[in-house]
């Protein structure tokens, strides 16, 4: 059934936009395609136009609201803090509901990520490819070949979207039971980095991995809100006996910290969700709070790419830098917090545009002369690995757990 309220909600979210144009200068998409409908201002106008009957809710409008990184650079810079990303999520859900469900590829994606078995199979097959030395082909393969079953797993790197404002830092006291939340991207794509994370955690206090399910962000971003809630409930229950939940995926972290907000009107789950969100920490947030120090400073130059979901989603900028400066030499790149173009499934849906955004990122990385670009999100790491290849070996891309 079509939920009329979603457009109204989107319109209300966009209502603070007075069309000034501040967002035009910060939108990574507008930088590579300078059409009004691409900008946040244009998207807010589309949301309002749809709600007020000035625009036909056809495929063109749907494509325009899908063409958003949900990176929140606009909202962060907006004088009125208009949450364009949240408005876009509403309009997307509206279109999904109106069409009777998400498009086939998102259904596939949602299905894969909902299933523990599929996610694990993903890591097995990727593990095999690693052993066969095929890893370097992976990023290039991500955007193509849907006929091969692997593509189903690869779609999972969706890593997703929907930041939903900046989550507060966790105030959970240290010293309790620490549990690792392993996101699908880390599990399937970067198991080595995931092992490093667990080793780092275990070096501080006993830490356990759980058989968690997907954080649900891909589902939320693509009009599968119901599945998102199901997954959330499963994860909340799974971590109820933990005192601290650490994740090394910025997207998962952002989503998990925001779970509480989605259950505010749910008398059964409200308190459990709030308790869960309050104990979620990003790996770097936890390590800095625990006073972690690298074993020694290496003769390596790092530069850090801020994942959207870490910098704007969780307000975490200083912690990864502190850890990197401790482990080597940190050099800042220009526009370090500008989206890499990964943005969930965006890099698969719009490979050309994502490529243009990544070119800019690559040039910024190259200009630092750093040997390694470090990040804290598997979604970004996929893109940065591509950038590293394109740079012809000028730099490597690694997860922060692998270098500190």
């Amino acid at each position: 059934m079509v939920n009329r309220n979603l457009l109204k909600e989107a319109k209300d979210l966009a209502a603070g936009c007075d069309r000034c144009g501040t967002c035009l200068t910060v939108c990574p998409l507008f930088k590579v395609q300078d059409l009004e409908r691409v900008s946040a201002r244009g998207k807010n106008a589309i949301a309002r136009g749809l709600a007020e009957g000035g625009l036909e809710p056809g495929p063109e409008a749907r494509a325009a609201v899908e063409f958003c990184l949900l990176c929140r650079a606009c909202a962060d810079n907006c004088p009125n803090k208009v949450p364009t990303d949240e408005a876009m999520i509403r309009v997307r859900q509206h279109f999904t509901d109106a069409a009777g469900g998400p498009t086939a590829k998102y259904v596939l994606l949602g299905g894969v990520l909902r299933s523990r078995r599929m996610v694990r199979l993903g890591s097995l097959s990727l593990g095999l490819m690693r052993r066969l030395g095929l890893l370097r082909f992976l990023p290039a393969a991500l955007g193509v070949a849907r006929e091969f079953p692997r593509s189903a797993f690869l779609e999972a790197f969706a890593g997703p979207a929907a930041l939903g404002g900046q989550a507060p830092a966790s105030a959970a006291p240290l010293g309790g039971r620490v549990a690792y939340f392993q996101g699908c991207g880390m599990r399937m794509m970067f198991p080595d980095a995931a092992r490093s994370t667990l080793a780092l955690l275990s070096g501080i206090a006993p830490a356990t991995a759980r058989d968690n399910v997907c954080c649900g962000l891909p589902h939320l971003a693509h009009g599968m809100g119901g599945t998102f809630l199901q997954l959330a409930r499963e994860n909340i229950a799974l971590y109820e006996d933990a005192d601290i939940v650490v994740t090394d995926c910025a997207s998962c972290g952002g989503a998990l910290k925001h779970l509480a907000g989605h259950f505010e009107a749910d008398p059964v789950w409200k308190d459990r969700a709030a308790a869960f969100s309050a104990k979620v920490m990003d790996l770097t947030e936890y390590l800095v709070r625990a006073g972690y120090r690298s074993a020694g400073k290496r003769d390596l130059t790092f530069t850090f790419h801020d994942p959207c979901h870490l910098a704007r989603g969780q307000g975490i900028r200083a912690q990864p830098r502190q850890l990197l400066a401790d482990a080597g030499t940190l050099v800042e790149m220009a526009e370090s917090d500008s989206c890499c173009g990964g943005a969930g499934t965006f890099h698969m849906d719009h490979p050309e545009t994502a490529g243009l955004i990544l070119d800019r990122k690559r040039r910024n990385i190259e200009q630092t002369g750093a040997q390694v670009v470090v990040t804290a999100c598997p979604g970004c790491l996929i893109q940065l690995t591509r950038a590293a290849e394109a740079s012809g070996g000028k730099f490597k891309a690694m997860h922060i757990s692998q270098v500190i």
């Binding site: 007075d18 069309r19 035009l24 200068t25 009004e36 409908r37 625009l55 056809g58 325009a64 004088p79």
Partner: protein
């Protein structure tokens, strides 16, 4: 689409490249609005959006439009506040935002030549990198285009010391309504050869020609800058301070004032704490040779402010603090707009000495019509922005709002001021033009318009 347009569609595509002619419903909607309070829906849709890259392409588009009598509305970043780039009569939106080259920075003559789509901030920074200063800084300078600044004769905060856009325009290349290329002015400082066409096109709101190249003069970049925030218990105290500073020959590069409602709106947005009783904020920028010059100016300003009853005096001690104080002013307009469903932002300009008087009159109008009308503006030059906050969806309110706006304009005219200081007339202030200029004034404007654009295809429906 009109038959005339359909017939030239292929020619337009050949002229600018097929990818730069947009005709989808979504794109037409995207180029139907600007940053004014005109409602988004029903949209004033253009039939086509054309995005030329060169003056030659602009000329080709104009020649086609002229031959077929098709309206053309030039557009930069659509950050204008009066509907200037809104395609009121449909036809073509001529988006100039691909024309983004800085063509020359002539350091010996201290002049810069740019295309109209260059963002004002990019222009500023390119000049600053050579130690040169382009002073006009409309609040939208980070995203507005220089072409739009010329078309609207944009002002900004530094007008008190450095003047407005017009004071820097030395010459223009303009494509006339029929596609003819016209060059005006030049690098010679003294130039009285014929009418001052450069001035005529500056502030012409896209109704006389399409500006395709701009020659601007620059000045040396001041070596040091400082930012000061002063809080007062009343607007009268704030106005008096600025007045006395200027009389004592302390000329700040910026002197911005905001009233209590504005101040609270932005303080809430930015989670700022203010001393109790703060009902007026004056933000001052001083520039000079060195730190000592700033220090002496700020001491003198502190003394003047204290004599006028200041509540709090804060000099930014770091760049970060200066940026923070600036952000308050830059975010003000949008923060005020967010206070109500609709905001009718005005732009009246009065003789500097009449500033306190017009603020008092606006207060009285706000009370009379039971409306919130926050006021902020450029105290140093007499240009102020009363914002009538309202919900135009409520018919009872709408009547009161329009009466209040009428009276604000009358108040400005009554104290010897005018309708618009820096936003232009566009669509939103059209009904008041004759009151401000008189019948003879409007006839003179019309005569100029019909001389340069006899078919009336350039930005029709604007100014009068």
């Amino acid at each position: 689409m009109e038959a005339a347009l359909t017939s030239i569609l292929d020619d337009l595509r050949r002229a600018v490249g097929a990818g730069h002619v947009l005709d989808s419903g979504l794109d037409r909607f995207g180029y139907s609005y600007d940053s004014s309070f005109l409602p988004l829906v029903p949209a004033r849709l253009p039939d086509l959006v054309v995005r030329p890259r060169t003056a030659g392409e602009v000329s080709a588009v104009m020649a086609l439009a002229h031959a077929h009598g098709i309206p053309v509305t030039p557009r930069g970043a659509a950050s204008g506040r009066t509907g200037g780039s809104v395609p009121q009569a449909g036809g073509i939106v001529l988006a100039l935002d691909r024309m983004t080259s800085i063509l020359e920075i002539d350091e010996s003559n201290m002049m810069v030549t740019v295309e109209p789509g260059v963002r004002t901030m990019d222009l500023y920074e390119a000049c600053a990198a050579r130690g040169l200063f382009y002073p006009p800084d409309p609040a939208s300078w980070k995203f507005c285009t220089i072409g739009g600044n010329i078309a609207e004769n944009a002002g900004g905060m530094r007008a008190v010391k450095y003047g407005v856009t017009h004071d820097y325009v030395m010459g223009l290349q303009v494509v006339l309504a029929d596609g003819t290329l016209l060059e005006t002015g030049g690098k010679a400082i003294k130039n009285v050869t014929g009418y001052d066409l450069t001035s005529l096109f500056t502030g012409s709101e896209g109704t006389l020609g399409v500006i395709t190249r701009i020659l601007l003069r620059l000045i040396p970049m001041p070596k040091a800058r400082g930012v000061i925030r002063i809080l007062f218990r009343s607007m009268d105290d704030g106005c008096a301070t600025v007045q006395r500073m200027l009389q004592e020959d302390i000329v700040p590069s910026v002197a911005e004032i905001m009233d209590e409602i504005s101040l609270k709106a932005v303080a809430t947005r930015r989670s700022m704490d203010l001393p109790a009783g703060s009902a007026c904020c004056v933000l001052i920028e001083v520039d000079g040779e060195d730190a000592a010059s700033l220090e002496s100016q700020s001491r003198r300003i502190e003394a003047v402010a204290a004599a006028c009853g200041s509540l709090d005096f804060r000099v930014a001690q770091s760049q970060a603090e200066a940026d923070e104080l600036w952000a308050v002013r830059r975010g003000l307009s949008s923060a005020v707009a967010a206070l109500a469903p609709n905001r009718l932002g005005e732009d009246i300009s009065v003789p500097r000495g009449a500033f306190p008087e017009v603020v008092r009159r606006i207060r009285a109008i706000a009370e009379k019509y039971a409306l919130a009308i926050p006021v902020f503006g450029h105290a140093g030059d007499g240009n102020l922005h009363p914002s009538v906050l309202c919900d135009l969806g409520d018919p009872e309110q709408a009547g009161r709002v329009h009466q209040a706006v009428d009276e604000i304009f009358l108040a400005a005219l009554a104290v010897g001021g005018t309708l618009s200081g820096e936003h232009g007339i566009g669509l939103t202030k059209r009904p008041y033009l004759e009151q401000a200029l008189g019948a003879a004034g409007v006839r003179a404007l019309r005569a100029v318009k019909s001389g340069l654009d006899p078919k009336g295809i350039l930005n029709p429906g604007k100014i009068w």
